[in-house]
């Protein structure tokens, strides 16, 4: 069966520090991968998606970046965090149009 992992589960970082969040998927091949952010009361914001290794599309211009070094690995990064980067970050995957997007457990990021 397929599973999706995210780590760390929680993270507290000072403003200006770097960030690396990791997402890995097991039990499937060549999935589409997505990074979302949830801020309180603002729903889900799609940040990045990837349809293949090394292929990254950005939805929102910001100080975050994403990379997909392997088929089932998706990384969200920042060189310098801002207070506004605080939120709940979710990774998701799917295989096809009309199929369910499967979500990971999320990472709670607090920038202080």
């Amino acid at each position: 069966s397929q599973t999706i992992h995210q780590w760390p589960a929680t993270l507290v970082q000072p403003v200006g520090s770097p960030l690396s969040l990791e997402c890995t998927v097991e039990g499937t091949s060549n999935p589409n991968l997505y990074w979302y952010r949830q801020a309180a009361g603002r729903g889900l914001q799609l940040l990045f998606y990837s349809v293949g290794i090394g292929q990254i599309s950005s939805e929102v211009p910001q100080n975050l970046s994403a990379s997909r070094p392997q088929d089932r690995q998706f990384i969200l990064s920042s060189k310098k965090l801002l207070l506004s980067d605080s939120g709940f970050y979710l990774c998701a995957w799917t295989l096809d149009r009309g199929n369910e997007q499967y979500f990971g457990p999320g990472t709670r990021l607090t920038v202080t």
Partner: protein, 116 residues
């Protein structure tokens, strides 16, 4: 491009009462429609989806939704809620056609609170 509107940000109900969470969509092309549930500090979980066929869709945990093309709506219903249904519910749309990105457009969510 499409948009999804969830008309109620919060819906409080009493246990064993019926509930309806409203969702309207706007799109220039045909869409697939989804309802997801999110429990506190967890990821989203699919409740049900509409792709084609019967407009009444049944999902997990006793939820159902009805697709209404003329009203561009996809409202979620449950005849009798439990305390454990307290969660945030998201409606989402996906174009039937397009490239390979399979992106979802989400509404802003409805917080369902079931009180004893």
């Amino acid at each position: 491009a499409q948009s999804v509107t969830q008309l109620d940000s919060q819906v409080p109900v009493f246990e064993e009462a019926p509930v309806e969470l409203r969702c309207n969509y706007s799109s220039s092309v045909s869409v697939y429609l989804f309802w997801y549930v999110q429990y506190p500090n967890q990821g989203l979980q699919l409740l049900l989806k509409y792709l084609s066929g019967s407009t009444l869709v049944k999902g997990i945990n006793g939820f159902e939704a009805e697709f209404n093309k003329s009203q561009t709506s996809f409202h979620l219903r449950k005849p009798s809620v439990h305390i454990s249904d307290t969660a945030e519910y998201f409606c989402a749309a996906q174009s039937e056609w397009g490239g390979s990105n399979y992106k979802l457009t989400f509404g802003k969510g409805t917080l369902l609170t079931v009180n004893p």
